[in-house]
Symmetry: C2
């Protein structure tokens, strides 16, 4: 059986980013920039006032003159009409262009205007410096400057900068689509009351939420029964998405028909079964581009049917594939080092990823495993926001010891 690290490497190697496409600027939030962005302007585009006040020449103030004749009023959006000369100033609004001859702005709060004589007096004793309260042309960025590199996640900050540059469309690696297909005769939809031996299909909507939290788009393909024909139809439909996540149907039982159907449909196995708890039965494969209508590959995860196993496998492995399709780096999970909150003993022949609670503590992190009853125990995961990483074999850990924890997407 492969290790978690081997599985993550295989995912990283086999999944490729989706081809870049143009999207509108607001829609690009949470996607990955697929182009280098060069500024086609200076910013600020002109010397501008950063406050409401009076524009004048700083050296003119230094001569002792504290009162100036106001020659015009410059509002934002309009060009100044007059040059400021000795003994004169222009009333100026925030964001308005500086007039010729002026190099500083005195904020209105530090002045008094005599509206009869149209003279303004500076009330502050502090000397003026050239440049004060002025945003000079090109200080933020210059025409021709590379301002954003391809591969960067687009957040509100990038959107603001792209908007300033007039980029109403931008090239991104688009969000992946993820089809979710639950399998198993024991499942009923969440609106139904389970009969004896039945349970509700909680996995599918949980995975839809995990997909959404990651910024990708879920497609819910319902429940496939443990019959070849139903599986064939629904898996075939799910293979239209970038990633198909199946739950159940990949462990070692006689009724686990999923690998058989996937093989029939041309899906190649990359790995099956991992040294991990929970999540040992994980299956991963791909559909080569020559088998798809758009010549783009598909990736397929067979997640275990137990809900916590599915949740953990999604956070570790599906998330890595999603980030790789989006061309985000690093694609794989990034653990934080955290102090263990209590002594803790745990032993398992497989490396274990235990639901845990991670909290900021002083200048670092503190983590505590939650009281987890097993891979069916969803209730305990609601107290968790991370996975505590434990190596195989006996772990005898002491309070305060540093351990690795992987925060869940949308940790809170």
């Amino acid at each position: 059986m492969r290790t978690v690290a081997e599985a993550l490497d295989l995912i990283d190697d086999s999944v490729v980013p989706r081809p870049a496409q143009l999207t509108t600027l607001l829609e690009s939030l949470g996607q990955t920039l697929a182009e280098d962005v060069v500024s086609d302007q200076d910013s600020p585009p002109f010397d501008k006032s950063l406050v409401d006040g009076y524009a004048l020449k700083a050296s003119d103030d230094g001569t002792g003159t504290r009162s100036f004749f106001v020659i015009e009023e410059i509002t934002a959006g309009r060009m100044p009409q007059h040059e400021v000369g000795p003994g004169t100033a222009a009333r100026i609004m925030t964001g308005a262009p500086m007039p010729q001859g002026a190099d500083a702005v005195v904020p209105i709060e530090r002045t008094a205007l005599d509206s009869v004589t149209e003279r303004v007096t500076i009330l502050s004793e502090a000397p003026l410096h050239a440049g004060i309260n002025v945003g000079c042309r090109g200080t933020s960025m210059q025409d021709g400057e590379l301002v954003l590199r391809a591969g960067r996640l687009i957040r509100a900050q990038e959107i603001a900068l792209l908007a300033e540059l007039g980029r109403s469309w931008v090239s991104v690696h688009p969000r992946p689509t993820i089809a979710l297909l639950a399998t198993g005769d024991e499942l009923v939809s969440i609106e139904e009351t389970p009969g004896p031996a039945q349970i509700r299909n909680s996995n599918q909507i949980m995975l839809a939420a995990q997909v959404t939290a990651l910024g990708a788009t879920p497609y819910v393909e319902g429940i496939a029964r443990d019959k070849l024909e139903d599986l064939r139809q629904r898996i075939g439909r799910g293979l239209q998405a970038d990633i198909l996540c199946l739950t159940g149907g990949v462990s070692a039982g006689k009724l686990d028909l999923v690998p058989q159907v996937l093989k029939e449909l041309g899906v190649k196995e990359i790995f099956h079964k991992l040294q991990i708890r929970p999540g040992k039965p994980l299956w991963f494969g791909y559909l080569p581009p020559e088998r798809t209508s758009d010549n783009l590959p598909r990736w397929i995860f067979g997640l275990p049917g137990n809900p916590v196993s599915s949740m953990v496998c999604f956070e570790l492995f599906v998330r890595t594939a999603v980030r790789r399709i989006m061309n985000l780096s690093p694609a794989g999970p990034v653990p934080v080092l955290a102090e263990l909150e209590t002594d803790f003993q745990f032993s398992d022949p497989r490396p274990t990823y235990l639901p845990a609670r991670l909290e900021a503590h002083g200048a670092g992190w503190r983590v505590k495993p939650v009281d987890w009853k097993g891979s069916f125990d969803l209730k305990s995961t609601a107290s968790s926001n991370a996975l505590l990483v434990l190596p195989a074999g006996p772990n005898r850990l002491s309070q305060g010891e540093l351990v690795e924890a992987i925060p869940f997407t949308g940790r809170e």
Copy 2:
């Protein structure tokens, strides 16, 4: 002028959560649970097998018998038909109910089946224990147990648990709607080429992205010109949202008509101007419920026109109001303690929130201010993912010193 702490307290005191309403389960992702949730079932609902294998009585194995007659096959979703007695076992699939008389499951990988005699032999030497590979009824939660309290953010984990309980609808404090209205004669839309003295309206889409990243819903109300009639119409329309964010028009200049129009429309000022850099002109008020058609209050932020000031005021103050409307606690920003990456000197008469880069480092955080040119400098914010908090006056900070930093929403 009020302090940042006073302003946050005023927002926390005056903003109230939106009334609870029912929403579909997947839509509840990122909203706040508005009801206590009690389980109406045991979970697991029956003793179930956690693996594919053979169900038997553990004590029966202890007698030395390592070979069992297979009496039936139990697939997931079906009830067992026979009791397991001494010397017998049932073939069982993951998720299927345990048969009467059995209390342990041997995984299929550790067995060999003779299909002629229908006898299964256990290959492992390890003794069996009662309960092994069995999920016992009620171990995760019990009928009548309080499993989720009101006030909790709904993540994928909560959705999974609510799905298990059959809660296809759930009561939440809904996401706030936020209207965004830019003001100023200097603004052109981002598709246009600015004339002399003009700039693109980058604030509005930046704020729309910040709103979206927070899980709230933005409504873009366009650009209002510096004219009373245009402002009246657009502000009136924007007051239909839970929060109206104006940008520009609240500093000290003659053309800052926004406070006048707000007053006319019945909006009460709570504060105007703060001891903060950037963001000093911030305006905050509310429209009392008796002035609205649905008898729910509205909250109004007048954000400064400079883009970085708007960005910072959103992260500190609007975000606090949004979390309060969603009934999330704590509503206000939560700083982390981080080691300063380099020596750093900074002096300003107001407390300053500087764009900075926060990175995980060992078991804690490391932070470095970015090369920030002022409140117009969006480019530098693209390198930032946090705000470094600096008190008023001279700050002479040394490398390695612990400082406060507030991560941006969606930090990466």
